[in-house]
């Protein structure tokens, strides 16, 4: 079961937004686009943000976490933490899982966090994806720190 809530600090949220902005201003134009990464913690409370490399050949509309970054998953478990969420950005579209996001979701124990800058101000939404069902997790708290 995925967490029923997502809690992160302001600095963790800022780290996610900075990663998203980095994706839009990558020095290599062909690499600009969606960013992706992992959130590690316990019971929905984020303890660590782990940015990963998007190696999709079409990063403006797709993400694909680099093989070597997938090794963070067992390492998270070795540290006594859980994979709280997999995050990626939709730079100019809604922060809602696309049909491809849903079809490719293979971690039912984690939340899927979507980031967007479609309106200029950063948005963050969290979802549980199981089978082909998408359920928004409404308890998302960005606290102090």
């Amino acid at each position: 079961m995925p967490p029923s809530r997502l809690r992160l600090t302001r600095s963790q949220f800022d780290r996610l937004v900075a990663h998203m902005r980095e994706g839009l201003t990558h020095p290599v134009p062909q690499k600009r686009g969606e960013v992706c990464g992992l959130l590690a913690g316990r019971d929905g409370v984020v303890e660590r943000v782990i940015p990963c490399e998007n190696v999709s050949p079409t990063p403006m509309t797709n993400y694909n976490v680099a093989d070597r970054d997938l090794l963070h998953v067992p390492r998270i478990e070795d540290e006594g933490l859980e994979l709280v969420a997999i995050y990626h950005s939709h730079p100019v579209t809604v922060p809602y899982p696309s049909p491809t996001d849903v079809a490719e979701a293979r971690y039912p124990e984690a939340l899927y966090v979507l980031l967007s800058l479609r309106h200029g101000a950063p948005e963050l939404k969290a979802y549980a994806i199981a089978g082909r069902e998408v359920r928004e997790v409404t308890e998302v708290v960005i606290g102090e720190g």
Binding site: V55, T58, T61, N62, N64, V65, L71, V73, P108, E109
Partner: protein
């Protein structure tokens, strides 16, 4: 040859929900076969009809990509770890490449 197989994500359902299981075998193929005997249907989660590792499954022996070590014929060291990690991918386009890098599907 006893090894530990780690399975995060949806692959854990193929072994009863656990993220870590012991298995035996000298090669990746033998380890998969051992688990398939104990958990019928496991092999089909990892290998396709041709016996190749499915594109959306990343297999590491230790921290080395099994595809670079010989695929299913890759040797597995005694006491070692085999990690079966599903791809993490997505995107706005249906049917766009979303599997492991450089591989279709």
């Amino acid at each position: 040859m006893a090894v530990t197989v780690r399975l995060p994500g949806s692959l854990r359902d193929a072994v009863g929900g656990t993220t870590k299981v012991e298995a035996s075998g000298h090669t990746l193929a033998e380890v998969i076969a051992d688990l398939d005997r104990r958990y019928p249907g496991f092999r089909a989660q990892i290998l396709d009809e041709r016996g190749a590792i499915r594109t959306y499954v990343n297999v590491f022996i230790g921290e080395k990509d099994a595809r670079e070590l010989g695929g299913t014929e890759a040797p597995v060291p005694e006491g070692g770890e085999v990690m079966l990690i599903p791809a993490m991918a997505g995107g706005a386009q249906i049917g766009a490449p979303g599997g492991p890098q450089g591989r279709s599907g």
